[in-house]
């Protein structure tokens, strides 16, 4: 764990490391969002409720996720 922290400090300012982390985080975010939206739909949440929880417009949430649920 200490080694990991040391590695973090050493690489925190390297743009290549930082940008890769952002890209990886975006992939993770998309996976989590798809999973959570599908779960909410299964539980009967409306697009309006889902959009409010995500902090986006109803249209945006519906457009992005309707194919999967």
């Amino acid at each position: 764990m200490q080694a990991t922290e040391a590695a973090e400090r050493a690489t925190a300012k390297d743009p290549a490391v930082g940008l890769r982390a952002v890209a990886a985080l975006r992939r993770l975010l998309e996976q989590l969002e798809a999973l959570q939206v599908a779960n909410a739909r299964e539980r009967g949440w409306s697009w309006k409720e889902i959009a409010d929880a995500l902090g986006v417009s109803r249209q945006a949430a519906h457009k992005k996720h309707r194919r999967r649920s």
Binding site: R20, A24, L25, L28, Q31
Partner: protein
């Protein structure tokens, strides 16, 4: 494809799939099969091949997961996130549900080679040891083991010799 597999071999393949998922891989690859088979076989192989352990192969193969490393650099543990998500939603939830992962071309090839090993050795069914022999014939599993100081040719020869001995006995 798996109709001629023994229960142990099927379990090893399922374990390989779990291995692939836990690493965030999109498909089951040779290294996942190798880790799964070694995990079951390594105690028997340990005396002759101390380098060929599931843990060491996992470390050598897993080092290449770019997203896991990138997220670790900002303090996020992808395996931890996956574990938490799967606890609530089941295996593979993060990758879109419990559907089966596909096999990479190399992994398919290794399973075909396990079948060929079975034919050559006169085995009616494919057990996990034959899957290991298939992995040892060519491809990435060989390279991984060689990198860990375990000569894949030697390991293959040893397994085949022992197997022939068992069949004669």
């Amino acid at each position: 494809m798996f109709t001629r597999f023994t229960r142990e071999a099927r379990e090893a393949v399922e374990q390989a799939e779990r291995e692939a998922r836990s690493l965030g891989a999109a498909a089951v690859a040779e290294e996942h099969l190798l880790v799964a088979v070694l995990d079951r076989r390594e105690t028997r192989l340990a005396a002759d091949f101390p380098g060929a352990t599931a843990e060491r192969v996992r470390a050598a193969a897993g080092a290449g997961d770019p997203d896991r490393e990138a997220l670790a650099a900002i303090g996020i543990s992808l395996p931890e996130v996956r574990r938490a998500v799967e606890e609530a939603f089941g295996p593979g939830a993060l990758e879109g549900g419990s559907r089966r992962l596909p096999f990479t071309r190399g992994a398919k090839r290794a399973l075909e080679l396990a079948l060929r090993e079975a034919l050559e050795l006169g085995a009616r069914r494919i057990d996990d040891e034959l899957v290991l022999l298939g992995l040892l014939r060519e491809g990435r599993a060989r390279d991984l083991l060689a990198g860990l100081g375990a000569d894949p040719e030697e390991l293959r020869a040893l397994l085949r010799r022992r197997r022939r001995g068992r069949q004669v006995a």
